[in-house]
C-alpha cells in the first residue's frame, strides 16, 4: 500500500524535471489528481503521456489527424475519470493504457470493447500483494527487454498492432499453436516477476 499521506511528496515531484520522473512519480502524481483536481499537476501528466498515447494510437493504424483527436479524447477522460484511479492498484501508465486501448478500439470498431467491471477495482484494491504496482512496472519493463526476440515480437504485434493470434500466424507464416506458445512463454516469464514477491515470503 502507498502509506504516504496525500500531499507529502507532491511538491518534490513538481520540482523534478520531466526527464527525471520515474514510473512511480507519475503514479503518485495521478494519485494526487484522483483526490483533488489540479490543473498544474494535470498539465505535467499531459505533457508526458499525451505524446505517448498518440504514438500508441498511430501504431494501431489510425490516421494522424484522427489520432490527434482521439488522443485529445483520451487525455480529457484522464482528467474526468481521475477520481476512479487507485495508485495501489495500477501504475499511472497502466491505467492510461487501458483508457487509450478502450477508446481506440471503441472508435475503430464502433463497438464498446467488453470490459470486466472497473467498479470491482475498488473492492479488490486492498488485496495483499497489490501494493507494489509502481515498482513492479519498472521490473516488468526490464523483463520485457530481456525477452527473446521471437517472444517480444508477438507481444508487440498484439499490443501495438492489435493483431489476433490468427493474424500473427499469417503474417509470420507460422502455425497458430506457435503464436500461442510464444505468448505463453513470454507471459510465464512476466508472471514470475509479477507474482514473485508475493509468494516468496
Amino acid at each position: 500500500m502507498n502509506k504516504r499521506p496525500p500531499g507529502d511528496d507532491v511538491d518534490n515531484i513538481i520540482q523534478l524535471k520531466q526527464a527525471e520522473m520515474a514510473s512511480a512519480d507519475w503514479s503518485n502524481l495521478l494519485g494526487h489528481l484522483a483526490v483533488k483536481p489540479d490543473k498544474r499537476l494535470y498539465a505535467r501528466l499531459f505533457s508526458h503521456f499525451a505524446p505517448k498515447v498518440k504514438a500508441y494510437i498511430v501504431r494501431l493504424g489510425v490516421a494522424l489527424a484522427t489520432a490527434e483527436e482521439l488522443t485529445q479524447e483520451v487525455m480529457l477522460s484522464v482528467w474526468r475519470k481521475a477520481h476512479m484511479y487507485h495508485p495501489e492498484k495500477a501504475a499511472a501508465s497502466t491505467w492510461i493504457f487501458t483508457l487509450a486501448r478502450n477508446q481506440s478500439i471503441d472508435w475503430m470498431r464502433k463497438q464498446k470493447y467488453p470490459q470486466y467491471s472497473l467498479d470491482e477495482w475498488s473492492e479488490t484494491a486492498s488485496e495483499p500483494g497489490q501494493g507494489e504496482q509502481k515498482v513492479l512496472s519498472d521490473r516488468i519493463a526490464a523483463a520485457i527487454k530481456l525477452l527473446p526476440e521471437k517472444q517480444a515480437q508477438v507481444i508487440y504485434m498484439s499490443y501495438f498492432e492489435g493483431r489476433s493470434h490468427g493474424d500473427i500466424a499469417g503474417r509470420l507464416d507460422i502455425p497458430l499453436g506457435s503464436v500461442k506458445s510464444r505468448i505463453r512463454l513470454a507471459s510465464e516469464k512476466l508472471k514470475q516477476i509479477w507474482g514473485g514477491d508475493r509468494y516468496e515470503h
Binding site: E68, A90, S93, I96, K112, S137, G162, S164
Partner: protein, 219 residues
C-alpha cells in the same frame, strides 16, 4: 464461485492487448466477472500494456491541445459526466455476467431463442464479425459430434454443465480451446446447458456443437 477451468495465458494477454475479436473479448470479460484468479492475471497483462505505452517514442502533439482540454474541463456542466454504464447489475438477472448485460434483453429463459434442431437453440450477439458470437442452449443428454477447431474457440458455461475429453465444465468454467484439441461435449446436467461462445476464425462449422448445427443452417 468454484471455478476449475480458466483462461489460457495467450488469450488473456491478447484480451489486455485489445487484439481479441468483439465476441472473444465478451466471453473473456464475462469469465473475468466470475473469476478473481484470472482477473489478477488480467491486471498483470494490463500492466504490460502500461509498460509498453511508457516505452514508446513521443509523437508530436499540436500546441493547442492542452489549452483545448483545459477549456473543456472548465465548462461546468461537462464536468464529471457519468460514463454510460453497462446495465445496472442489481436490476438484472444474477445469472448473467455484467459484461453480457447490455447485449441481452432480459433473463436467459425469456430470450428469443432460435431453434436449430430439437434440443439445440441459439441467440446471436448483435454484431457482425469474422467469427461466431452467440449463446447456445443445449438440452440434457445431448451429445455433440466430435469436432476440432479452426482457430480459437471460447466457451463459458452460464447454466448447467457439460463434459468432454478435457473434463467437466460447470457455471463459470471456461473451455479455452485451439485447433490442437478434438472433443465431444456431452451435456450432463439435469437442466439445459447454456453457454456463451465465440470463435475468432471465419465460421467453418468445426465449432463446438457445430457439426450438428451445420446441416440445418445452410452455411
Amino acid at each position: 464461485m468454484n471455478i476449475n477451468h480458466h483462461l489460457d495465458d495467450a488469450t488473456l494477454m491478447s484480451y489486455s492487448a485489445g487484439s481479441l475479436s468483439q465476441g472473444m473479448a465478451l466471453v473473456v470479460a464475462s469469465h473475468l466477472a466470475f473469476c478473481s484468479a484470472c482477473r489478477e492475471r488480467a491486471e498483470m497483462n494490463d500492466a504490460v500494456g502500461g509498460v509498453l505505452l511508457e516505452s514508446l517514442d513521443a509523437e508530436t502533439i499540436e500546441d493547442d491541445m492542452l489549452a483545448a482540454i483545459l477549456a473543456q474541463i472548465d465548462e461546468p456542466l461537462e464536468r464529471r459526466i457519468v460514463e454510460p454504464r453497462q446495465a445496472i447489475p442489481s436490476l438484472s438477472d444474477p445469472e448473467i455476467p455484467v459484461p453480457l448485460n447490455e447485449y441481452v434483453s432480459g433473463p436467459l429463459d425469456q430470450l428469443e431463442w432460435k431453434r436449430i434442431v430439437p434440443g439445440v437453440a441459439y441467440y446471436d450477439m448483435p454484431w457482425q464479425g469474422r467469427g461466431v458470437s452467440r449463446l447456445l442452449r443445449i438440452a440434457p443428454g445431448k451429445s455433440m459430434l466430435t469436432h476440432t477447431h479452426n482457430g480459437n474457440e471460447l466457451t463459458l458455461v452460464l447454466r448447467g454443465s457439460f463434459s468432454d475429453e478435457v473434463g467437466r465444465f460447470c457455471r463459470g468454467d471456461i473451455a479455452d480451446l485451439d485447433d490442437q484439441i478434438e472433443h465431444q461435449p456431452l451435456v450432463d446436467s439435469d437442466e439445459d446447458c447454456i453457454c456463451l461462445i465465440a470463435t475468432d476464425a471465419p465460421l467453418r462449422f468445426t465449432t463446438l456443437f457445430g457439426k450438428l448445427v451445420q446441416p440445418m443452417t445452410g452455411f
